[in-house]
Symmetry: C2
Subunit: 595 residues, 2 copies
C-alpha cells in the first residue's frame, strides 16, 4: 500500500480495481536493472546533450516504488520502476519494428499510458514523437501521416477509424487494457524479448541536443496543417521551467485534462517526471470525473484552456459532444481540502472565472504560448504585491495580461511590422496603447516547420518567431494580447480588438460564450458582429431575441467606445470550434458573408 | 515599506539604519531601462546560449521593486531594479578599465554586495570571475593572481594586505559602505558615466555557452592550487537545479553562511536570482548574527558544511579565530517560527546534528560535490518514505549517504581502479561493501584545470572526473563515501575508513571533533591514531587524559571491528584546518612522524 502514499487514497474508496491491478510480466524490471544509456562518443565529460529522457531514468533510480502513472479507465497504475521498464520495452519494440534515429513515430490516442510511454520511449531510440490530434478528420490524419512520413503508428482502439486504408507502415493498436493480450501490451512484450535483456546500456543518448524531439501539427483554420518541430534541448529546458514555475514536486499529483497531443502537453509529460511526481490520465475529460479526482486523488495541478474551466467542447472523431458544464459550475464543485494550481492558457481568465476558481481553492496561473511555435508556456502573468489591495475586478484586469518571459524562455517583444525591405524590428513604446505583433526567440521557441522551409522562413522573418498575435506592452514590460492579427476590426479607422469586445460582452450576466468578428459596413468600413451563447439558466430570454439584443447593447454602451460596440448580435446554440477548442472565426465570417 | 514585504521586517526592529539607506545616484536606473543584452549574431532564433546572467535581467523586469540583496554590515540593501543597474555599472566600469572577453577579473572579498555584483557583472562583459579565498596566505594569493593572469582586482578593504606589492594591474578597493566616496562605489559611478546610458542593449551575451564562467582555485593540502574552470552552461543548469532542489522561490530568503568564493557559492548567487528571491550577506559568520537573522529576517535557506552547524573555524587572513559554538548550540537557538532548509555538504551530518537541527525547525538537505571539480551539489540524499518509521539513529545512517545524482547532474558511478593500460571503468557491485572511486560526468562537472592540460587529463582519465573519494554503492543505487583515497587506513590487510572511525568516535558524549589518521604499526602495518577535541562542558576529564582515553576506547570497542579501533588517542585543543574549514590530515601525519 506504500505505493499509494503520494496523493492516492490507500483506503480503496476510489476504483478498487486499481488495488488489484498487476502489470504484465514484461513490465517487471530485472533485478540488476542498470538505469543508464550509453553516452555518445566524442563528447567532453562536461557536456551531456540535454534530453528529457534522462528524467524517467533518474526517477526510477531514486524513487523506484513511487506511483508514477495512474490511469483510472483500464484501470492501471505503474511505479517509476515499472513504468521505466515499459518505456524500455517500447524502445526495443520500436527498434525491432525497424525504427531508426530521426524516424517519426505517430501516436493517435487520448491521454493514456501509451501516450505517456511514447514521450520517453520514442526518444530512447532517437526517433521523433509525432502526436496526432484525435479530433481531426480522417483526411487530415492521412495528410499528417503522409507528410510526417511516420514509419510506425501507435493508435488507440477508439481511433482506428481515423487511419487511411492504404497504409504501408505497421500499426500497433492499443486497447488500453494494460493486460496481456492487448496488442499494445504484446508489442511491449515483444520489445522486452527482442532486447535479450540488454537493457538501457545498449541504447544510446542522441548526441545532438538540437535534434527533433516532437512533431505536432497545427490545427490551422486555413490551409494545410504545418508540422512544428521542437528539440530535445528545448523540451528539457521547458520541462524544467514548467516544474519550477508550477511548483510540481515529488508529492504533487498532476491531472491530465489538457490533451498530450496539444503541443506535446506543453512538456508536462516530462515536467512531472523531472519532479518525480504522479500523473493521472483519463480518456475522457468530463467534469464528474475531474471532480472525482479533485476530491479523491489529491490532485494538485492541472493545465487547461479557460474554456476547460468554463465550458468545454470535446470532439470525438467526427462526433461533436458538447459538455456545457464547467469545472467551477459542476454540481460536485466545492471548497477543496488541498490547494490546486491551474495552469491556464489559450485566453485570459476573466474576473468571474478567477473569483470562482479561488473560492474553491484553485489558484490560476495564467500563461501564454503558441501551439504553432512553442513548447507550451512562453510567458506568465507574475502576480504583483500591489494587487493584493485591489478588488477582484481590478485585479483580474492585471491577471488577464499575458505577462513576462517564462523561466528558461527569453525575448518576448512587441514590435511594429517591419518596413518594406527591412528586417529591423522596432519595439512599440511601453505605453499600454501602441499595438504591435508579439515576436519571440530563445531556447523554447520551435526549431522549424517540418519539410516546409518556406513557411519556416516566413515565420522567422526578422530573426524572431512572428506570432501573429497583436499586443500592447505596459510600462512594467508586461504584455497583453489585443487580438489575433487577422481578427482585428477596423471600424471608422479605429482598431477595435475583437478580444476586448468579447471580454466586455462576456461580463453580461446571461452570456456564456461570445465571439466577435468584423462585418463590412458601408459607412465605417467594418463594424463588430457578435455571436453569443446564452447561459443555460437564462431562460427568461427565450423567444425574446430582440429584447436580449437591446439589453446586451445597453450593457456594451457603458463599457465600450462607440467604434467597438457590436452593431449586430446573433444568439446561437453553438460556436464552431477547432479540434483544440478554439473558435473558428473564419466560419463565422462565412455565415456573415451569406447574410 | 512595500520593499520589505518579502521576509524582511517592516517594523524596523532589525537594523534601523537599513530603513534610511539610499543607494548612490549612479545605482538608480534610468526611466526607460531596457533589460536585454544584444543577441550574438549568427545563431538560429531557437538557440540562446545558456547564461546565468539572464536571471537578474528577468528578475529586474518582473519584480523591479522586490528586495534582492541585503547587507546588514554597511548596512545596504538593493531592489532587483537597483541591483541590476549596479551590475550594469560594474560591467561598463570593467570595460572602461580595459577588460576584454575571456579576461579574468579577480575578487578578494567576504560575502558582500561587491562579490554578489561580480557574479553577474563580470559575465556581462564576457569575462571570467576569479574568486579568491580570503583565508589564503599572501603567497598563495600572489600565485593565483599570477597564474590566473587576472587583469583587474576587486578587493575588500580588509584584505588588501593579501595583495603583492608589485602588482601591475588595476586594483579597486571596496570599503563596503555602499556610499559615494567608497572607491568601489566610485568605480561603479565611473562605469555608469562611461556607459553614456547605452545600457544593457549595448552589451552582448557570450555566443559560446561553453565559455568559462568562474575560475576558483583548489585549496589542496599538497602542491600548488589548481584553477577549476566552470562554464556558463554548467552554471545555468546547476543554478536552476539548486533553486528547484532546495525549493528556493520568490518568497524565500537565503542567508549567506557559505563563502561565495567556495566553488562559486555552489551557484547559489545565481540560483537565488533565478528564483527572484532575497539574499542576505554578512561579512562575518558568527552565531549571534546568524541567529539574529534566523529570528528576525525570515531566513528560509542557507548552505554550509556540517562544521558550520556544529563548530566553525574562521580564519581572518592569517589570524585563526575559532568560534566553538555551533548554530544548534548557540544560546539564542530555539524553535523557529518559519521552516529553514539547510543545504549541507562537506561531510555527512550525524544523527546528533540531524536531531538537533530538526528539533528547532531546520530540515537538513544532505548534498555532495567537490570544490575541485563541480559547481556545488552533484548528488543528493533523497529521503525515502520507508525511513519515516525508523529511529533517528537508524534514519541518520541512511541520511549520511551521499545519495543519488542531482537534478541536471548526470552519471555518478563507483568504479574499480582501471587496469594498467586500460581506460575501461568497471562499476563495483551494488552491495554496499565493495569500495571503488566515485567518478562523475555531465553538464555540472568542471570543464578543465586552467592552464594545466596535464592535471586536466589526469583528472579525466577514463573519460569521467576522478573524484579521489572512495565509496560504496548500495542496491538502491545510492552511494556512501567511505574515505578519501589517501586517508584509508590499511590495518592487518583490512581497509579501515578513517571517516567511519571518526563517525563512531564522535558519538561519544564528550567528543566535539575528531580526526583519525594512519600510524605505522610494526605488526599490523598501520593502525588508527585519533586526535580529539573535547566538548567545552567536558571538564570532568580535565587532567585525566588517560582516563578519557580508556573511556573512548571502551566506547569504540562496542562500535568498531578490532582492526578499526584507535590504537592511539590524543586530546588536542585545536585541529589544523584548511582555509575552507577542512581538517588537514597531512599535518596530523607530520605530528605522528615526530612521535
Amino acid at each position: 500500500m506504500l505505493y499509494f502514499r503520494y496523493g492516492f487514497p490507500s483506503d480503496g474508496q476510489l476504483e478498487p480495481a486499481l488495488m488489484t491491478f498487476q502489470p504484465t510480466p514484461a513490465s517487471i524490471p530485472p533485478r540488476d536493472n542498470r538505469l543508464t544509456l550509453r553516452q555518445p562518443s566524442g563528447l567532453p565529460p562536461n557536456i551531456q546533450p540535454l534530453n528529457p529522457l534522462q528524467f524517467i531514468l533518474r526517477a526510477a533510480e531514486i524513487y523506484p516504488n513511487q506511483v508514477a502513472l495512474v490511469h483510472t479507465d483500464s484501470p492501471a497504475w505503474y511505479t517509476y520502476s515499472v513504468w521505466c521498464q515499459r518505456v524500455q520495452n517500447l524502445a526495443y519494440a520500436l527498434l525491432q519494428a525497424g525504427v531508426k534515429p530521426g524516424d517519426r513515430v505517430a501516436v493517435i490516442a487520448p491521454n493514456s499510458p501509451m501516450t505517456a510511454d511514447a514521450h520517453h520511449g520514442v526518444l530512447a531510440v532517437q526517433a521523433v514523437l509525432c502526436l496526432i490530434n484525435t479530433r481531426l478528420k480522417p483526411s487530415d490524419v492521412a495528410y499528417i501521416l503522409e507528410h510526417s512520413g511516420s514509419s510506425i503508428i501507435l493508435v488507440d482502439h477508439e481511433y482506428t477509424h481515423l487511419l487511411p486504408s492504404n497504409l504501408k507502415v505497421p500499426v500497433i493498436v492499443n486497447n488500453d487494457t494494460g493486460k496481456q493480450g492487448d496488442p499494445y501490451e504484446d508489442f511491449l512484450t515483444v520489445g522486452r524479448k527482442f532486447s535479450k535483456e540488454r537493457g538501457w546500456p545498449d541504447l544510446e543518448y542522441n548526441a545532438d541536443e538540437n535534434a527533433a524531439a516532437v512533431l505536432c501539427y497545427t490545427s490551422g483554420t486555413t490551409g494545410r496543417p504545418k508540422g512544428v518541430i521542437t528539440t530535445l534541448r528545448g523540451s528539457y529546458l521547458a520541462a524544467v521551467a514548467n516544474a519550477y514555475e508550477s511548483n510540481i514536486r515529488r508529492d504533487s499529483t498532476y491531472l491530465w485534462i489538457l490533451p498530450m497531443f496539444h503541443a506535446g502537453g506543453w512538456t508536462f509529460p516530462w515536467a512531472c517526471v523531472f519532479a518525480m511526481g504522479k500523473q493521472i490520465t483519463m480518456r475522457t475529460v468530463d467534469y464528474p470525473t475531474i471532480w472525482k479526482h479533485f476530491l479523491n486523488s489529491s490532485v494538485t495541478h492541472y493545465c487547461g484552456a479557460p474554456t476547460v474551466q468554463v465550458v468545454y467542447t470535446i470532439h470525438y472523431g467526427q462526433r461533436l459532444t458538447s459538455i456545457q458544464i464547467g469545472i467551477v459550475n459542476d454540481p460536485a464543485a466545492r471548497l477543496l481540502k488541498q490547494k490546486i494550481s491551474a495552469i491556464i492558457a489559450g485566453a485570459a481568465p476573466t474576473a468571474n472565472l478567477i473569483g470562482s476558481l479561488e473560492s474553491i481553492g484553485i489558484t490560476p496561473i495564467h500563461v501564454y504560448g503558441l501551439t504553432k511555435s512553442q513548447y507550451g508556456p512562453f510567458t506568465r502573468n507574475y502576480p504583483q504585491d500591489s494587487w493584493a489591495k485591489l478588488s477582484i475586478e481590478e485585479r483580474s484586469k492585471f491577471m488577464a495580461r499575458q505577462g513576462h518571459s517564462f523561466a528558461t524562455a527569453q525575448d518576448v517583444r512587441v514590435v511594429y511590422p517591419p518596413k518594406d525591405g527591412s528586417d529591423q524590428l522596432v519595439d512599440v513604446p511601453r505605453d499600454g496603447k501602441a499595438i504591435g505583433e508579439i515576436v519571440t526567440r530563445g531556447n523554447i521557441v520551435m526549431k522549424e516547420y517540418f519539410r516546409d522551409p518556406e513557411a519556416t522562413a516566413k515565420a522567422f522573418r526578422g530573426g524572431s518567431f512572428n506570432s501573429g498575435d497583436l499586443a500592447v506592452m505596459f510600462e512594467d514590460g508586461s504584455i497583453a494580447i489585443v487580438d489575433r492579427q487577422k481578427d482585428i476590426i477596423i471600424s471608422g479607422g479605429e482598431n477595435a480588438s475583437s478580444l476586448a469586445i468579447e471580454q466586455e460582452l462576456a461580463s453580461h450576466p446571461d452570456v456564456l460564450e461570445v465571439s466577435v468578428v468584423a462585418r463590412p459596413h458601408a459607412k465605417w468600413g467594418e463594424r463588430p458582429h457578435a455571436f453569443v451563447i446564452l447561459k443555460p439558466h437564462a431562460s427568461k430570454w427565450k423567444g425574446k431575441h430582440d429584447a436580449f439584443v437591446s439589453d446586451l447593447k445597453e450593457h456594451a454602451k457603458h463599457r465600450l467606445p462607440g467604434f467597438a460596440r457590436p452593431e449586430w448580435i446573433t444568439v446561437v446554440e453553438e460556436l464552431p470550434k477547432t479540434s483544440t477548442g478554439k473558435i473558428v472565426k473564419v466560419e463565422l465570417r462565412k455565415i456573415i458573408a451569406k447574410l
